[in-house]
């Protein structure tokens, strides 16, 4: 019997060597170690042995079984590896094929620009305040120190909807609304929104555009604060390396009035068509809130002071992305919008 056992083990191990795939391995398992397998049958025959031989044979048979099981495991592991290698070899994809279409849509470039502007000013404590697009003559002009027939009104070509109402030409009327709502609190707000000008639509001008007015009112607000705030904004929006130039200007609702330029981001200040060869690009008008305007908003100019500024929204985006036609913004060609 022991010989038979040794033969069987030898034969099983040899057979295992020839097993090349998992089906054959399972078959091997069944034919040697399974319920009706050769080794199992041999073990059952132990009862045929004389009593004194049984312990030795039983020990030997168990040892053989353990060895065969170990060999089986080893073989199985080897086969798994081989199969994995085969799978890896066969599973190669053409990684240059296009991916499965997925993904979100796009926010309008104006929304994206506004959000950047909100974020920059939010860090300086400015919160968003929205106000109507259809405004009274009084809010848009009169209370901003431009009584009827004031020459400065010529600076804004206006769409009128009645004798008293118009499409706001700038976000500045929001200043007056914010002041009247918050007085006598100090104020730090930005006023984004659509504005309208009676202008023929060309590559450089639109009758509808966005602006973000800024307004700070407090007891110690100064021109130096304004210059710093706008310089900060310009560097955050256009890049830390930008140079900023502040020059005197005129707006009826601010005094003193300034304009803010950054060095041209297209030509690095060398002069090009976009900056009209000046090396500078105008990014915002600004100034200290005119005492008349403060007064109209409810603030005593002897105690309070304030600054206001009004950068555009399309223009910064145009510069940043070399967009040469403002009509693209509200033409809504998806081939344009999807680029942002």
């Amino acid at each position: 019997m022991l010989d038979q056992l040794n033969r069987l083990e030898g034969e099983a191990l040899a057979a295992l060597e020839t097993v090349k795939e998992s089906d054959a391995l399972a078959e091997w398992d069944r034919s040697y170690l399974g319920k009706k397998g050769a080794l199992t049958l041999l073990l059952r025959a132990v009862g045929d042995l004389p009593k004194e031989e049984r312990p030795a044979f039983g020990r030997a048979a168990n040892e053989a079984k353990v060895r065969l099981e170990a060999a089986y495991e080893a073989r199985a592991e080897a086969l798994r590896r081989e199969e994995m290698v085969r799978e890896l070899e066969q599973g190669t994809l053409d990684v240059t094929l296009p991916g499965r279409p997925a993904g979100p849509g796009h926010l309008h470039i104006t929304t994206q620009t506004l959000r950047r502007i909100y974020a920059i000013f939010a860090e300086m404590g400015f919160q968003v305040y929205e106000s109507p697009e259809v405004e009274t003559d009084e809010m848009n002009f009169g209370l901003l120190n431009m009584p009827p027939h004031h020459p400065a009104r010529d600076m804004w070509d206006t769409f009128w909807v009645s004798d008293e109402a118009l499409l706001r030409t700038h976000t500045s009327p929001g200043q007056m609304r914010a002041m009247r709502e918050y007085c006598p609190e100090p104020i730090r707000v930005i006023l984004p929104g659509k504005c309208y000008r009676y202008e023929q639509i060309t590559a450089r001008s639109e009758h509808q555009f966005y602006q973000v007015e800024g307004l700070a009112v407090g007891r110690n607000i100064t021109m130096a604060d304004l210059i710093t705030t706008l310089t900060e904004f310009a560097r955050r929006y256009y890049g830390a390396e930008r140079r900023v130039r502040i020059r005197g200007s005129y707006f009826p609702f601010t005094e003193p009035s300034i304009e803010v330029d950054v060095d041209c981001i297209l030509c690095e200040g060398q002069g090009c068509r976009v900056c009209k060869y000046s090396g500078w690009l105008e990014i915002a008008g600004a100034g200290m809130v005119h005492p008349v305007v403060l007064q109209n908003g409810g603030y005593d100019p002897d105690v309070w002071s304030g600054f206001a500024f009004g950068p555009g929204v399309e223009r910064p985006a145009m510069l940043k992305h070399s967009i040469d036609d403002i009509r693209l913004f509200y033409g809504n060609d998806l081939r344009f919008l999807r680029q942002f």
Partner: protein, 838 residues
Amino acid sequence: MRVPLSWLKDYVDITIPISELAERLTLAGLEVETIQYIGQPEAELPWDPKRVVVGEIRAVHFHPNADRLVLAEVDYGGAERETVVAGPPSLLDLRGQEDVHLKVAFAMEGTSLYDGYAEGWQIKTLKQATIRGVSSRCMVCSEKELGLADRHGDIIYLPEDAPVGAPLVEYLGDAVLEFDIKGPFGHVLSVFGVAREVAALLNVPLRRDALQVLDRHPSDLTPAPDFLTLEIADPDLCPRYSAALIQGIEVGSSPFWMQMRLRRAGMRPINNIVDVTNYVMLELGQPLHAFDYYILRAKPGEDRPAIIVRRAQPGEQMETLDGTLRTFDGEMLLITDGGGPVAVAGVMGGLESEVTEDTTDVLLESANFDFISVRRTSRLLGLASDASQRFGRRVDPELTVKAAARAAHLMAGLAGGSVVPVVGDVYPGQQPQRVIPFDPAYATRILGVQVPTEEMARILTSLEFQVQPATDPETDLPIFQVTVPSHRQDVERPVDLVEEVGRIWGYDRFPTTLMRDELPPQRTNHRLEGAERVRDLLVGCGLNEIITYSLVNLEDEGKLRLGGPASDPDDYLHVLNPLSAERDVLRQTLLPSALHTVRDNLRFVDRVFLFEIGAVYLPVRGQTLPDELRRLCIVMTGPREARSWMAGQDRALVDFYDLKGVVEALLAGLKLDGAFEPGTHPALHPGRCARVSVAGRGVGVMGELHPLVRDGFDLPAQSVCVLEFDLDGLLFDWGVSYRMAPLSVHPPVYEDLAVVVEEDVPAVRVHDLIAQTGGALVRSVVLFDVYRGAQVGGGKKSLAYRLTYQADDRTLTDREVAKLRGKIVRRLEREVGATLRS
């Protein structure tokens, strides 16, 4: 406004480079848009100082082989005269003359010039050439060849005093500053006005001779001169009218230097009288007008001409200098003589009284008009002139007699004749000098920079403000009493002086400071945050945001009202001055623009999924301003999935349920519960339209576009899914906080439940009954199949749901689940007549 540097230097010494000067002026608020260099090294065509010089033609000879050419013998300061071949007609008559003295611009071989005969501006190099058999290596130049004029005309003849041999660039070179002046600042709209700013900026003296002619030629200023009857009938529109008389002049060309200055400033020389009026206007900023004295008519019964300044009679007419017959309304101010209108005050003179070649005596008007009146007249007549642009931005009323004297004496000097030493001057609008108390501490408070007090005084003084030390009556602290010069019509209050200090001190010198004010109360902005959340959710669903025009036309809005009454124009807010009929009303729906956008995009792409958030404008009776309501609009059309190489992609066209999936995702993202009910809308497919409500509040409609509306917007015959919501209604409850649902650790039990119901039972009813009956233990109810067909019988449908049962505190037993299921099934049987499908 164009200011030649050479002219500016008459009044102020400029020692810094021109580019630096331009920068300083720009920073101070006088924006220099461009600098045009003439002949100088920075110019496009620099004039070589060695090769382009002042020459003098000394003799003109016949060309041996050409009738239309001459040989000119030119002295250019060299050892010998140079003979050049030239062709200007003005030299032909001089042929054979040996004793000629004509100063010219002389260019020598090797220098660059513009090609006088080429179109546009082409630079060529002057080379030796043989012209009709005569060699010539130099030339006498035309203006075009030097870049002074864009037409090739006669050669330039320089004044007699031009120094022979001098580099032309020194004699004729220049730089012209082109300004863009914003604001009603008449005081800088002149060469002298700019010079005044330069003097303040550079801290150098200002030469004021041009303003002081009256001091050198004292005149009698009188409202009743013996040569003129002078009346201002409407003093509210004419604060001052001054008139000088120059007799015995001879009209001719003005001298070279004046023509050159006028042209560089952008004006065309006409004759010595008109040129002087323009010259002095450019120089001092006072518009002037010259009348032919003998054409002015007297009032009936008088023997001397009259000038009466009055409002027009409505419908009164006159032909202006530009040859157009103008009709006036009753608010327009006219200059009239004894017979009728002779000029539109401050805007343009009349054709009849214009100075002509025959004029011998000139009545020179130097007046001041109300700036608002001039602006109005100019706008209504569609007539803008150099005069109206200056008057419209306020001119110093003190300037009239000074400018009149300056111009009168220039005329007499250039055109012969004599100035009558009496100036007619009616001045009903004389104003007291403005004195403004100015506290330096106030300037510091506004500017945030400590400009030394003495520097503030210097700046104001240099701009011709008078600065007197004083004491504040309230605080007893030292302040200044600042007297405003008459030319600063714009300065009214202390803050205006602060601006003067700030801009001349220089904003580039301001320190960097952070606002040290208290931070205002910070408020949550649900309105903005809600809209931004909606944008993000929709973009996450694959939609693209658009922004369209607020101005639309009624016809488009009408296309949505299929079969309904047409849009009533009275219900809309109209723009009174539309750019085009295409955009003349404020929209009340976002849909038409979105549909146009879809149509436009379908030319290039096949899937158009987009949304817009924007206002609509609803007029309210008795309210000046409309209600502005925010709307959300979505349009989706085209294949569900983008085309790709993958197997099994879904290229079916999107339908109602794709849009509904987006809405569900939106509502879920906003943590809102929406309800959908069948609805109707004139623009939508009658069977594919839902009204959507949130917390019982209707927020809008969604559905597939009606085929006829689709046709109306030129859209292809495919399903176009649209939605329009009231955004503020949708976000009404947004931002309310909610609690998290606990996460159970106990295993769920899954079970499928299929029931058969009548076709008209809405699916949502079955779903809600299951959910309600199941209560807390039914965690989710997902419809996974809808079947109609023979197996369930006609008029019925089978709805199959996967239910997930789960408890937070225990593992559910099969008995519990079976019991609950039985309860659900009985409820469905009872309430909607459902039968269990096995």
